[in-house]
Amino acid sequence: MLNGIPLSWFLILAAALFCIGLYGALARKNAVAILMGVELMLNAVNINLIAFWRYLNPSATVGLAFAAFVFIVAAAEASVGLALIISAYRNMRSVDPEQMDLLKM
């Protein structure tokens, strides 16, 4: 199925997805939207890992194992991040990171 698709196409697509996710993480006003941007970035990295596995060394399992651990860490990150957002919202009725400045001196 990969006939005629160079590896660089996948890498460029993943780079574009990563930059879009980075923009979402840097520029959004809502903490939940920032987490969405982080999820997009993690997906871009996973595309890269699996593309490298398929093109460079499809007989080894190490690329797939890396991608699996990225999945696991992403799930843990999403659950803890959203719990933190909900807790912060309960305390200050806001999910705007610019207003979360309790630790600021």
Binding site: L2, I5, S8, L13, A27, R28, N43, P58, T61
Partner: protein, 218 residues
């Protein structure tokens, strides 16, 4: 143009456009739904890469679980949406991401680009199989991966540790987001305020104010 190229462009466009909608839509609920579409596009790319297990895992973990978590978070924090979608630094962020994107695409482009006297891009990857074309993925690869996860010489330790990580993340998430009785929260805030006041009083005693008139002594 081959069938694979057409599929790649189709699913790539779906993924990218949905991702752009995620970061620009003002309504967070719509953004979450576009995020689901973007995850589906990535799953289709995994199918194109013949990583079928990861396509299924993507649908289960991202489309099934993480997107539901995000939609729940959006709905639990409702009423704070609206207004502008970007924060005060969104222009700087757009410039940074644009520069990064142009740089990465230049570095990864299949043809070499001459920029300021240097050549960028045109990387030669050592593709498996060489001129004979990509080898087919072994049917055994998934079985090998599963054995690797329980093999002490391969990934058994990281696999067990990731299980511990998931368990700790789950317990921590429940602990952080638990419902607290309002009286308990009030009592805690009063105690913190009392401690802060005591600290301030102690500091005032130990560091007496220096009178400004003593400064010309030397």
């Amino acid at each position: 143009m081959t069938f694979g190229q057409i599929l790649f462009i189709l699913f790539g466009l779906v993924t990218i456009i949905a991702a752009v909608m995620v970061v620009v839509r003002r309504n967070l609920f719509h953004a979450a739904l576009f995020l689901v579409l973007s995850f589906f596009g990535v799953a289709a790319l995994y199918v194109l890469l013949e990583a079928y297990f990861f396509a299924a895992a993507q649908v289960l973990v991202y489309v099934g679980a993480i997107s539901i978590l995000i939609i729940f978070a959006v709905m639990l924090t409702r009423g704070v949406m609206g207004g502008q979608s970007g924060n005060s630094q969104w222009r700087e962020a757009a410039v940074i991401c644009g520069i990064l994107l142009v740089g990465l695409v230049g570095l990864l482009s299949p043809v070499a680009i001459n920029f300021l006297g240097r050549n960028f891009g045109g990387l030669q990857w050592r593709i498996a199989g060489g001129a004979a074309g990509l080898p087919v993925v072994s049917e055994q690869i998934l079985a090998n991966l599963g054995m690797g996860f329980v093999d002490l010489n391969q990934y058994a330790l990281p696999f067990v540790l990731s299980g511990v990580l998931i368990l700790l993340a789950m317990v921590g998430a429940i602990w952080v987001a638990r419902e607290r009785h309002p009286a308990e929260v009030l009592a805690e805030r009063k105690q913190i305020a009392a401690e802060l006041a005591a600290d301030a009083a102690a500091e005032a005693i130990t560091t007496p104010e220096v009178a400004p008139t003593e400064q010309h002594a030397h």
